[in-house]
């Protein structure tokens, strides 16, 4: 065990003891109204390539928006008895993984059609890596009748909180998010730019990965995308309401000029 690993364990133990020190009702109360994200675990691959980054994401959501979050990230298999507790599933990975069981495929389809939301984030750092190949294979099983479509730049997910032109993450290998539509919303969003990689910090608060091509602006834009995605999961097409359109158009025009 090196010094870095020892400190990580120490920090984790500290966090756990702090949590246990809170009154039991506080956690229950969190459960009542705070927003959390569940990480989708799957066999035969690395389902948590950026440990702690999801918690960082939620902390940032808590800091910048009115959304109240619960930063305790649950890990769930794709089974219905777990996933329906969490309307937002986050699936990450950095390599190939095994096909899901048929039951999981069926449950995920039911979940997404009922209103669940799945965000898929590739840590491969390439546009078409092995993780995305596997993820797309599973998406084709979940929705054999639907295509994964490229989201246009004016899609609501780019306007839910921040005005975003490009979905930047740790890397910038794909200019657009992709998604699978269900009714009036995207039930699945797929990102190739390693969003969590840009958000991950080590125990001391240092960035775990450099962003490529680089710059604070890129990392900031990754945070904005992350917040927009959470906001999209919660508000869907709210920013497409007529009342918002003049403001958004005006600001986009102002920025272009």
């Amino acid at each position: 065990m090196n010094r870095r690993r020892f400190l990580q364990i120490l920090a984790a133990a500290g966090a756990a003891s702090a949590a246990s020190a809170l009154p039991s009702g506080a956690f229950a109360f969190d459960r009542q109204h705070r927003i959390t994200i569940a990480r989708l675990d799957y066999p035969g691959g690395n389902s948590d390539p950026r440990p702690g980054a999801l918690r960082r994401l939620l902390q940032e959501v808590d800091k910048r928006t009115s959304i109240e979050v619960n930063t305790n990230i649950a890990t769930v298999s794709g089974r219905r008895d777990e996933i329906f507790e969490y309307p937002f599933l986050f699936m990450a990975g950095d390599g190939r993984f095994e096909p899901f069981d048929d039951d999981v495929i069926r449950d995920l389809r039911t979940y997404l059609l009922a209103g669940g939301f799945l965000f898929i984030d590739s840590a491969d750092g390439v546009r078409e890596g092995p993780f995305l190949e596997s993820a797309e294979r599973e998406l084709a099983r979940i929705f054999p009748d639907r295509d994964l479509v490229t989201l246009p730049r004016d899609h609501t997910v780019h306007e839910t909180f921040y005005l975003i032109d490009r979905p930047l993450g740790r890397v910038d290998v794909a200019g657009n998010l992709r998604g699978i539509a269900e009714d009036d919303r995207m039930a699945v969003l797929v990102n190739s730019n390693d969003l969590l990689g840009a958000l991950a910090r080590d125990t001391f608060g240092n960035w775990e990965f450099d962003v490529i091509p680089g710059g604070d602006r890129q990392r900031e834009m990754a945070f904005r995308l992350a917040i927009n995605v959470v906001m999209y999961a919660l508000t869907v097409n709210y920013k497409a309401d007529q009342v918002h359109i003049p403001f958004i158009l005006e600001r986009r025009r102002w920025r272009v000029d």
């Binding site: 459960r31 928006t65 329906f84 039911t110």
Partner: protein, 779 residues
């Protein structure tokens, strides 16, 4: 013994049960035997050979005849007359005059029926004449009854009459049909075949399927007819208030000189719009379109009119009344949310997917506690337009929903009074739970608390105003029946459904139900200030409006988690959709309702109306006493002929029966608008409802009075019948199919094969053949 003279019909029968293939086989065998004989006798002299072959062929032939068992069928018969149906139009247009001396179309029909007598007498045993009349439907009649027949039917379903004739004679022998009419068909052929068009294939096939000639006698032609008629008024079944609606009017002018005709649309007697059409003698059909905007919800009586010109065949078709129910436009809902949450997301999704809802959402996405590190220009946030929403535009909404929203950070205190006024004047308000709602939203001692159906605790300690435990709401007796919580009609099943729903995750704590509130669901363990179970879902009437409180922010789990448990989202959808309907006072959910089955009835027709009264929890109000006031506006006032307005007609006191209903059994002889206002005193206050019915003569048959001689002519053509325009008619021109059936009085079958003579002939022939063969040296 029998004598041939006793029988008038003789037929040869073959009693042997031999199939054609067997007979063919016997013939082939016979030919083979004869061919072999010819071969065998090839060396014999020709005449001998053919003599022997002839004898053998004769024997074989007779043997075959023997096998076929021939017989003679002799019958003494007489014909059974087939049926000729005489079908006479008795619709109202048959009462119209055809010439100056006052002869009507029906008079001409009567005259034709008289002429048919000779035909009847000559028909002898070939045809039997059956008489019918038709209007709405076919009815049997006697020749004598036509003398007194009054043409009063309000329809002329010629097609239906022919269909019923076909049905009536199914399995019987129909020799022909004599149709006496002016050709106006309100049935399917008349509708399908517009004037001047050829008969469509479907109608043609039907007429051919009658398999009998249809002789058509037209009671009148178009010549000399003068009339201006509103033939059809096309409009939607209902209209949305403040939304334009189009009314298309079709007019028919015949025998009119060139002139400009004003077409007027009146609403409740007052002129709404006027359009002019230019009538030309060569043109009979005209169209006019009115477009207008209904201003208020309820039923409105409209009248389309054209002037009455001298010499018209009748004036009843110069105006047309119709009743247009005007209903609420899309429900405008304002959803104000303190922070994004799953509860908000699922409710917004439900509202957005409801085509009857126009949703305006405002979510607080950032508060003062969130640091602003990004320029405003790079964010999509917009200002919260409190003044516009809660002052200038508030009245445009039907329902305001505060979902986990605390008003105080937005300095909205002075707007809360507006919301109170908005509800008391007929609006609706709902508060949904969360850590920014109810007492946590600091609504205690504000006008909103007066509005809510729950009382708020005075404490601000978070542990006392929020509870985090999971729970299943328990339905109250009112909840069993109330439309919001009645997810199944059967109370037992309803409770089972509620038990099957996922538990709610925590609740805002309230002190109890407010005055005059109805609690629909309670918390299973938490008690209010008075010790009663704490309300979780409660509703109340406030002034003219309605309010609702749901103390939890996790009802969304009924629509999501429930699916994961194998259920459906329907319960969640039904709950909120019903809540919205109740809050906006959907007429279907009023506590007192006066329903009439029809908007327009004929004079002296029964009025089918029912008053239904419910208690606030929607159980039937048994024995509820009330008063029904009836006002009458004469039809000439509706049509603008007089200035007379509505006058009191009657007042009826009533008491509801065991099902909370009272049936109004009335008939009104005088045409006009009858407006009803029902008033019932209940513990929810004075309940009222109103409705109206238009009493007007049914003159639909007068909408198109132009005789359709050509239609009758085509019907005759298609069925190989004869067509005549009355009074020019010769009964001898009508030919019918001969009877198909006969009656057998006596019958005798004589079997020819069962006869010793035939056997002797065969034996003799065989003997001769044997003898000749021996003599000519053949064995």
């Amino acid at each position: 013994m029998f004598a041939f003279g006793d029988y008038d019909t003789t037929d040869l029968l073959w009693l042997g049960d031999w199939s054609t293939s067997w007979i063919a086989l016997l013939v082939l065998i016979g030919l083979a035997v004869l061919a072999y004989s010819a071969f065998d006798l090839r060396n014999v002299a020709r005449y001998r050979r053919w003599t022997l072959i002839g004898l053998r062929g004769l024997v074989y032939g007779l043997a075959v005849v023997l096998l076929l068992e021939p017989a003679i069928d002799m019958r003494d018969t007489s014909k059974i007359p087939n049926h000729v149906a005489v079908v006479v139009d008795q619709s109202m247009t048959m009462d119209l005059k055809v010439d100056g001396d006052g002869t009507t179309r029906m008079d001409r029909a009567r005259q034709a029926i008289t002429q048919l007598r000779s035909l009847q007498e000559d028909a002898g045993e070939d045809h039997h004449f059956d008489f019918f009349t038709y209007g709405e439907e076919l009815a049997p009649a006697s020749p004598a009854s036509f003398a007194e027949l009054e043409p009063r039917a309000t329809a002329a379903d010629l097609t239906g009459a022919l269909e019923q004739v076909q049905e009536h004679y199914e399995g019987k022998d129909l020799g022909g049909v004599i149709l006496i009419s002016d050709g106006i068909d309100t049935g399917s052929i008349g509708l399908r075949k517009a004037r001047g068009e050829e008969m469509d294939e479907f109608s043609r096939q039907f007429l051919e399927s009658l398999n009998a000639p249809v002789h058509t006698l037209a009671a009148a032609g178009e010549e000399g007819l003068r009339d201006l008629a509103i033939s059809r008024v096309l409009h939607d079944d209902f209209a949305f208030v403040h939304n334009s609606i189009t009314v298309d009017v079709e007019l028919q002018a015949i025998g009119m000189e060139a002139t400009s005709v004003p077409v007027t649309l009146r609403r409740d007697g007052r002129v709404l719009q006027t359009r002019n059409i230019h009538v030309h003698p060569d043109e009979t059909s005209y169209e006019v379109t009115f477009e207008f905007v209904p201003e208020q919800i309820g039923k409105e009586v409209y009248t389309v009119q054209v002037p009455k010109y001298e010499g018209e065949a009748l004036y009843e078709n110069n105006e047309h009344h119709f009743v247009l129910p005007v209903i609420r436009d899309r429900i405008r809902v304002l959803q104000v949310v303190g922070r994004p949450s799953w509860d908000q997301r699922f409710l917004r999704r439900l509202l957005k997917r409801n085509p009857n809802v126009e949703l305006i959402s405002f979510f607080i996405l950032r508060t003062d506690q969130n640091p602003q590190i990004v320029p405003q220009s790079e964010m999509s946030l917009i200002p919260f337009p409190t003044d516009k929403l809660f002052d200038t535009e508030l009245g445009s909404f039907d329902l305001v929903v505060f979902q986990n929203f605390n008003f105080r950070p937005y300095r909205m205190g002075h707007y809360l009074r507006n919301i109170d006024d908005f509800v008391r004047e007929g609006g609706a308000f709902a508060m949904v739970g969360g850590d920014l709602s109810f007492a946590s939203g600091e609504y205690a001692r504000t006008p909103i608390e007066d509005l809510l159906p729950v009382q708020l605790p005075s404490s601000r300690a978070r542990s006392e105003i929020m509870d985090s435990e999971d729970f299943r709401p328990q339905l109250t007796d009112a909840g069993d029946r109330h439309p919001i919580t009645q997810l199944a009609f059967d109370p037992q099943r309803n409770r089972e459904i509620w038990e099957e729903l996922p538990p709610l995750r925590g609740t805002n704590v309230v002190a109890g139900a407010a005055e005059e509130a109805t609690v629909l669901a309670e918390h299973p363990t938490i008690r209010g200030n008075r010790g009663e179970p704490m309300p979780v879902i409660a509703v109340a009437e406030r002034g003219e409006g309605r309010v609702m409180a749901v103390t939890s922010d996790s009802t969304w789990r009924w629509g999501f988690e429930h699916v994961g448990e194998g259920g459906t989202p329907r319960e969640y959808q039904n709950f909120w959709n019903s809540a919205i309907r109740w809050l906006i006072q959907d007429p279907e959910l009023k506590l007192v309702r006066l329903d009439t089955k029809y908007d327009i009835i004929a004079p002296d027709a029964p009025l089918d109306a029912t008053v239904s009264v419910y208690t606030p929890d929607y159980s039937p109000a048994v024995g509820a006493e009330g008063e029904l006031r009836i006002e009458h506006t004469p039809l000439d006032a509706v049509a603008g002929g007089t200035e007379r307005g509505a006058a009191h007609y009657d007042t009826v006191e009533f008491s509801t029966d065991h099902s909370g209903q009272w049936d109004l059994d009335r008939r009104f002889s005088e045409p006009g608008i009858y407006e009803f206002e029902v008033e019932v005193e209940s513990r929810a206050g004075t309940l009222t409802d109103d409705n109206l019915v238009l009493v007007a003569p049914d003159v639909s048959q007068y909408r198109d009075i132009v005789p359709r001689n050509r239609l009758l002519e085509i019907i005759a053509e298609v069925t190989d019948g004869h067509h005549a325009l009355l009074p020019d008619f010769d009964a001898d021109d009508l030919q019918f199919k001969p009877p198909r059936h006969v009656e057998i009085h006596n019958r005798q079958i004589v079997q020819l094969w069962d006869n010793i003579f035939l056997f002797l002939v065969i034996l003799t022939l065989l003997g001769v053949e044997w003898s000749l063969r021996r003599r000519w040296g053949r064995l």
